[in-house]
């Protein structure tokens, strides 16, 4: 078909050459003068989508798990919701939301990511609360605490190490999966892949994959450290209480 750019025969157009060119070009990172988005801009978009999705997932998942832990059949509901959410094809949900009532942009991506990230937070919080020693809970009630006070001051603090695990798992999943948000026009680092693929500039695709993978590993490492700190802090309070 019509080439937009006629390359002289001697130009090295191999993918490796494309990749090194992409990697060493300033506009790849800071954005081009013609308004094309660079890694920095896309990273901020990616961070925004991921942080928003994680915040909403926590806001829904943690209270829901706490509520269900009070209910005899709560465990069954947690398992059903978690398994259901896990089996949802996220790309399909995103596209259906985008062409449906929600419209294209950040919203369909965030909604789909919340559904996707709900299982680890829901199950970990639920397990964390249920595994609080029954003796501890009874002691708290014996001290005259109401159910709400027991939940707020005893059960949830004791569940924090497991809740933290859930949040870390959800955060890393969201970060890596937010890549496909680019398909519904919400930008983010996935745009490096969609644009690179569409323009057959595969060096950019490799660059995008590398940036996403490395940042996901970095995020996981940081969150693991944070989680250890949380466990030391709240794990200690657990032993002092029990």
């Amino acid at each position: 078909m019509t080439p937009d750019l006629v390359l002289p025969a001697q130009v090295d157009n191999s993918t490796w050459h494309q990749f090194t060119t992409w990697f060493t070009t300033k506009s790849s990172w800071l954005g081009g003068t013609n308004g094309t988005a660079g890694v920095l801009h896309l990273f901020v978009q990616h961070l925004w989508i991921s942080a928003l999705s994680l915040a909403i997932t926590c806001a829904i998942g943690i209270p829901l798990a706490a509520l269900l832990s009070r209910w005899r059949r709560g465990g069954l509901i947690v398992t059903t919701v978690a398994n259901g959410a896990r089996s949802v094809p996220i790309i399909g949900v995103m596209l259906l939301l985008a062409i449906g009532p929600i419209g294209i942009g950040t919203e369909p991506a965030v909604i789909a990511l919340v559904i996707f990230a709900l299982p680890p937070i829901l199950t970990n919080t639920y397990t964390g609360i249920c595994e609080v020693d029954a003796e501890t809970t009874r002691a708290a009630i014996g001290m005259g605490m109401t159910r709400l006070q027991v939940m707020r001051s005893v059960e949830l603090p004791l569940a924090i190490p497991l809740v933290a695990t859930g949040i870390r798992l959800a955060a890393v999943q969201i970060w890596a999966t937010a890549t496909i948000a680019a398909i519904v026009g919400s930008g983010g680092l996935g745009q490096l892949i969609t644009v690179g693929y569409a323009t057959q500039y595969y060096g950019e695709v490799y660059g995008g994959v590398l940036v996403i993978a490395l940042s996901a590993i970095a995020l996981d490492t940081v969150l693991k450290r944070a989680q250890t700190a949380v466990r030391l802090r709240f794990g200690a309070s657990q032993s002092s209480l029990s």
């Binding site: 078909m1 019509t2 080439p3 937009d4 006629v6 390359l7 013609n34 308004g35 094309t36 596209l95 985008a98 062409i99 419209g103 294209i104 942009g105 680019a182 519904v184 026009g185 930008g187 745009q191 969609t194 644009v195 693929y197 569409a198 323009t199 057959q200």
Partner: protein, 332 residues
């Protein structure tokens, strides 16, 4: 690359194409019934339809089509008129130009409804390599002249239709009416005080016939690019929801008016001239076949092509029904 006529990525039409391919195959095996009305009286040349131009034809003619709704409908029309002029015409659908073109050059297929600019580039690329400078132009006469120059002597192209199937830009109809905009130049003038959001596939910001073309050729002010898809549901959603004011579509899409969208005229010929043109074996370049296919081209203006596509893709008529109706209404 992908911004050219790559129908496989157009979800709506591809899906319809699959449905229609099935129908067309069924029609192909029992087409004599469907065409009885068109066929009547074809034995004596005095009773031939006017579109045969007073000549009559004979012998077998195989019409090839690419596997998407519009092309199959056009091939059905070609088969109808060729039968009307006395040819023993039949139809076969193919996955792509790559699949049927070698058979055309070998004389196994005699007629194809083609797209002038894409065919010109296809033959040019096959001859001179994929990076050869394009010989297709925004002007259809230049494109046809270049196409005729590179065609092998065994093949010929007949008259191009006014109708095109090429990249085009759509806006909301109510927006166009309220601001008296029918052309891209008028939209560019409007954009000077109201910079626009453009919706299109990921490659749009770097492709000469998309965002850079609108900015350079028309001087359009584009404030923001909203990445969507290539002429698919996301682009339609971006336009109908107002997320973008202008979006990349194809000029012959049949579903746009139903969605409240209007294609603006490409008054500076930014896009290559992908007019519908019959590619035929040289033996059919004169006589009844040429007269009939030229008569079809003469009736195929943009509104008619869009109506044909709408009848198949949106209103779910079979391509054969739509073709028969076109021949009965426009050519009799």
């Amino acid at each position: 690359m992908a911004l050219r006529r790559t129908r496989s990525s157009s979800i709506t039409l591809a899906a319809a194409g699959i449905a229609i391919a099935f129908t067309a195959a069924a029609c192909g095996s029992s087409s004599s019934g469907g065409n009885a009305a068109v066929n009547s009286g074809s034995t004596s040349s005095s009773n031939l339809p006017a579109y045969c131009g007073g000549a009559s034809g004979s012998g077998k003619v195989l019409v090839g089509a690419s596997n998407f709704a519009e092309n199959i409908t056009l091939a059905d029309i070609y088969v109808d008129v060729l039968k009307g002029c006395g040819y023993d015409a039949s139809e076969k659908t193919f996955a792509s130009r790559e699949a049927y073109y070698p058979l055309v050059t070998k004389g196994k297929i005699q007629v194809i409804p083609e797209y002038a600019a894409t065919l010109t580039d296809f033959i040019n690329d096959a001859k001179n390599g994929p990076n050869a400078p394009s010989k297709a132009s925004g002007d259809i006469n230049t494109t046809i002249a270049n196409l005729k120059a590179e065609l092998p002597s065994t093949l010929a192209v007949l008259n191009p239709a006014a109708a095109t199937d090429r990249n085009a830009f759509a806006v909301q109809t109510k927006f166009a009416t309220a601001n008296h905009i029918t052309t891209l130049s008028q939209l560019a003038a409007y954009s000077q005080s109201h910079p626009l959001t453009l919706a299109g596939p990921p490659e749009c910001p770097t492709r000469a016939f998309c965002e850079p073309g609108l900015e350079k050729t028309y001087g359009m002010k584009i404030a923001h690019f909203q990445q969507t898809d290539e002429d698919g549901p996301l682009t339609r959603k971006a336009l109908t929801s107002g997320k973008a004011q202008v979006g990349l579509v194809f000029s012959s899409d049949g579903d746009l008016s139903g969605l409240g969208l209007t294609v603006l005229t490409d008054d500076k010929d930014l896009q290559a001239s992908d007019n519908i043109v019959p590619l035929v074996a040289s033996s059919l370049a004169t006589g009844a076949a040429a007269n009939a296919l030229n008569a079809v081209s003469a009736k195929l203006d943009q509104a008619t092509l869009v109506a044909l596509n709408k009848a198949v893709v949106v209103d779910k008529g079979t391509s054969q029904q739509v073709a028969d109706q076109f021949v009965a209404q426009e050519l009799s």
